[in-house]
Symmetry: C2
Amino acid sequence: MIRRNEKTNMMKLKRTTILAAITCLFLQPVLVAQSEALMGFSKEAAATQLEVEAEFDQLLNADNLDEWMKYMSARPHHVGSAYGKEVVDFVAAKFTEWGYDVKVEKFNVLFPTPKVRILTMTEPTVFEASLMEPPVDGDASSTQTEEALPGYNCFSIDGDVTAELVFVNYGIPADYLELKKRGVDVKGKIVIAKYQGSWRGIKPKVAAENGAIGCIIYSDPKDDGYYRGDVYPIGPFKNEYGVQRGSVMDLPYAPGDPLTPGYGSTDDAVRLAVEDAPSLTKIPVLPISYHDALPLLKALEGPVAPANWRGALPITYHIGPGPTKVRLKLEFNWDLKPTYDVIATLKGSTYPDEWVMRGNHHDAWVHGAADPISGLVALMEEARAVGELAKKGIHPKRTMIYCAWGAEEPGLMGSTEWVETHAEEIEQKVVAYINTDGTGRGYLGAGGSHTLEKFFNEITQTVQDPQKDVSVFERRNAVEIVSGRPAWSHYNLSALGSGSDYSPFFQHLGIASINFGFGGESSGGEYHTMYDSYELYKRFKDPDFAYGIALAKVAGRTSMRLANAEVLPFEFLHFSKIVAGYIDEVSALADDMRKKTEMENGLIRDGVYALVANPKEVNVIPEVQDEVPYFNFAPLENAIKELKKQAAAYDKAAKSYEPDSKSAAALNQVLKGMERSLTRDHGLPRRPWFRHHVYAPGFYTGYGVKTLPGVREAIEERDYEEVSKQVEILGDVLLSFSAKIEEAVSIMQ
Amino acid sequence: MIRRNEKTNMMKLKRTTILAAITCLFLQPVLVAQSEALMGFSKEAAATQLEVEAEFDQLLNADNLDEWMKYMSARPHHVGSAYGKEVVDFVAAKFTEWGYDVKVEKFNVLFPTPKVRILTMTEPTVFEASLMEPPVDGDASSTQTEEALPGYNCFSIDGDVTAELVFVNYGIPADYLELKKRGVDVKGKIVIAKYQGSWRGIKPKVAAENGAIGCIIYSDPKDDGYYRGDVYPIGPFKNEYGVQRGSVMDLPYAPGDPLTPGYGSTDDAVRLAVEDAPSLTKIPVLPISYHDALPLLKALEGPVAPANWRGALPITYHIGPGPTKVRLKLEFNWDLKPTYDVIATLKGSTYPDEWVMRGNHHDAWVHGAADPISGLVALMEEARAVGELAKKGIHPKRTMIYCAWGAEEPGLMGSTEWVETHAEEIEQKVVAYINTDGTGRGYLGAGGSHTLEKFFNEITQTVQDPQKDVSVFERRNAVEIVSGRPAWSHYNLSALGSGSDYSPFFQHLGIASINFGFGGESSGGEYHTMYDSYELYKRFKDPDFAYGIALAKVAGRTSMRLANAEVLPFEFLHFSKIVAGYIDEVSALADDMRKKTEMENGLIRDGVYALVANPKEVNVIPEVQDEVPYFNFAPLENAIKELKKQAAAYDKAAKSYEPDSKSAAALNQVLKGMERSLTRDHGLPRRPWFRHHVYAPGFYTGYGVKTLPGVREAIEERDYEEVSKQVEILGDVLLSFSAKIEEAVSIMQ
């Protein structure tokens, strides 16, 4: 489900951009931890661990990835499909063969599939949208149209609406402000929004909030088509017929089965009625290709769209409303479908009740060669090698659990239902969750808990890039440098929003998590289309699976070191610096908003906007906004001071700590629970499912992260009372985290 | 010839962008000079002058502009055309009727017109470019194809070349660096460049420097077509057939008749042979429409063009070379053609040998309703009113000369030849030159000598915007503010490059000049096409000629105040601040280049580029460049210190100066010559015709200005020896200017 977009990931990772600092920083020696010590390991244990990893590397075989991808992406395998079950059985059998204790856990989840999809332009001319992705030359997979789900947005409600069309750019809140300035109201209209700019589910959500009665989403060739490069099958980019499927449930409200919010969709679960499910859309919504969008957009009149709204279709982009009038008719099968999680356990030799979890989903929208099979085959090869090692007597100290999740695509259902079902045990036992999803060729992109940043950095310094004679860290760092950003002194984890199966572990339960993959040299337009095939993957993504193997190496080290460390490799100096940065950000955000509001209000009151307005166009002067007050950020400043103090104390104590088994066990017990102290049972405002108070997907971004979400979103949405409340909560959260560190320190002393 | 592009003009005008400073700055009272005193006038004289201006305003009548535009743009009137002569006779007759002493001065200039224009794609498929602009509905002018010059670039050489095509973006030097990185060489190829990004003549110049044998220029719909708005005749933007004609002579080398460089093309002038003319292109070049460009670009393969090269055609933009192969065959009539300048003089009552000159060209590429007739009709109405006043006994104190220049389009020929012919008299007599060209609806854009900035500011505060109840200054200032730039405390003149008839006065002879017009609310794609018609102007530009009248008001005040001032209204504090800013810029430019070069060289030597390079693409790692040395800028620092000192002394002296006729005459004599002390007879490196050492069009920008051009371009082009030479010259120039101020001060004391 996650979209591997290295560019976006890397933008998120950007912290500052001081061009001048680059070269000298790059020339500094980077932290290389190898062979001397590994975080959490004594010198001797580290040496053993490195030997194990060398043996692990030797076991990895790219041919396996190729063979398994070919098999698993041979036919459409979405939730509830016949081949989906075959994939599950295949994965389960493999794990069993490799020596794992395998459970296949079934959940019954709401999974609507389309019965009727009609999109007709009725005015000013008649045009029937084809809603078809035809087979293309050289891609046998694309001929399997019969088994495939056609283009649709999962969890759109049924509907039959006819209205004038309005083009709303990406359909995010800022776009509606632009519409307002131009005197355009979407009330009673159908909107057409471009994909991208936010997670897709935000588009119908915001459209409905603004009174629209239907929503069409299309892939503009500028963002996702010929503008970017040659289209499939000549190149990997989206051809005119490609349609991005995808879920539009209210993911930032809560992922998982909409009928069982907060608890598992087991056979006997109490289910909401479909019409009471809170995370379904409020209006019907359908994704279409740019082939189908072109006539609709071409016929629009009204104001010309702002320059940054315009795509790459050969038209003048108008906003409307009308004269384009469309009928959108959608009906879905609202059936429950079984979904299967494959849970493969390798019991820990020393700490069987401490679990290191590693997951990747198996369900796809169609063939899903890239998403998710490219990640899954790397996970399987990793698990196979770990199993081989165990057969040779090299057992992990902690229990390792490999998971192939079902029903990720419609809304992280397999993982969410599993997490909700086993919440108590997970909270007690899970040390960390490591996630992957689709992967490709290029540079390592990774996000996660910053308590693991230092640990993860060590790993990125030891895995070689398959194309260049340097570590994956160095190659990624080179990208930073060449892009004009400061060199990294260590691997920088981005903050995690949503979009893959880490979300229930991380943001619901507060399990420290990492998510990563390779990309940046394998872009394409196949995401969630009929064309995400083995054929495309072999031509344009990672043809020899060299990066699949690199992913297995990175993930294998991450899992195995977490499994074998004497002291769990968490660290708090990085985390405290990062959080301090976030606090600076929200404080700057309030200051900026205050200044901008003041300025804007000044321009409105002084009539400056009116002076500039072109009398031949509609210009609605914005209304004066409430001034932004000064907030009491002292609770955050005090909390971060304490956090930094305790982080430093931990760092100091850790340096001289020589673990004995008793104190280490107690210490690990504390460390394991650290991330959970960043959660609160009441969750975030408007969305209690999201309990983490440092990281969350944005309420209006969907996948995109909002750090310190309670405070940040309250500021952004000008809910000033809420700001103060959230500052109090967050201050308390950070203090309780600091207290946990203090507890850990006292154990070491 | 000049392209009214408010956006570009405004970008040039930008000095700093501190968002925060905006509101408070805007709320400060702006300098209003009205009714109390006018620069250069005693209190009593100012009162009289304001009365005259009020009367002048009353005389202006928009219907005249409409009627004259309708007449003058009724048929194509390019250089040498039958209707062109009728326009000249019309203008001359009008001036005579209004009481002016009218001379029509003829020059015989080289004006090539097309005989053969063939552009054929021969591979991979055959396509014959139509090279036609068909008539459109509702525009009778567009049916007059017989008399019109078709799409061509004037001063392209003849040629018949066949080669593979390479897409070179805008075809400026930076684009060739990108080609090099991708291993693409244009040697022996034909290049296709988009219009814009530089003046058009730069494209074949740089292409030839890089070894190309032919050049095609097309208007991409992103910059100039449907991407920007509805196309003609639905809207004003360029339709798929529109072709921008225009000169491609080496304008930054020297404008004017290529056969008489530096002297007038009079009947008896000695002329170069055409083949010896230095400012013709080195390769054949042809402009085409996006309709004709599409098949050529669509068939290109090779690397995908960088994102910022891509236009709005519905294709993946590839660079080539090939497989597109084209034949470009061009033949021209290389005849001399007569061109006529209408010079209308109204003798000054008090200082007949001090001339205020005011000009706008009359020749067009086709009908030229906007370019140049919209400006010309405003000039004529201004002149008519000035003539009416004279008939009533209100004579200007200085001589006012209104000029309608011929042959501006092929290369500022009418003005240049006139200036070259009368250089000595101009140097002795001309106080200032005021230029306009095409104009439209919206905001005032103006550039010129900064010694006139304070003077011009006063005028902009007194002319009302036709659409809003504020001065044209206030409306323009509102645009600055809303765009997030700091409010203006006074009207900011941009620096002048080239593109209209001020160039010979300003940059060749050093006559203080101003150039202005309205725009920003009347954008379109008609520039130099068949569609720059009366019909289009009336629908989309300035339908009621309200801004034409505003232009007459601004220009009329500028001319009349210069004509009547007791002390010529030059001022040097503004100028010294601006020049100090330019000095800071060139110094920062050197520093930036030094840092960037160091950094780039570091990245190359450290292999960082190689690390990032995608092995599936061609990546030529750039070569290490010579480090940028530290330059001795002390001569500039010392000179600017002296300039500031003298400027302050002048300001102080002027405040207490009470002019008597003798000292005022001596003072005016000095002031009149001030700008000329910024020139040197040897001119700029590589281009002696350009003598001004503060302002010049860029050698590689064409129209775009380079301030302190000697120093700036030497740095940009890494000619480090030249930098030191030019610093010496510029220091000397600024000191001689300061000495002139000192002389003026001593007269006042």
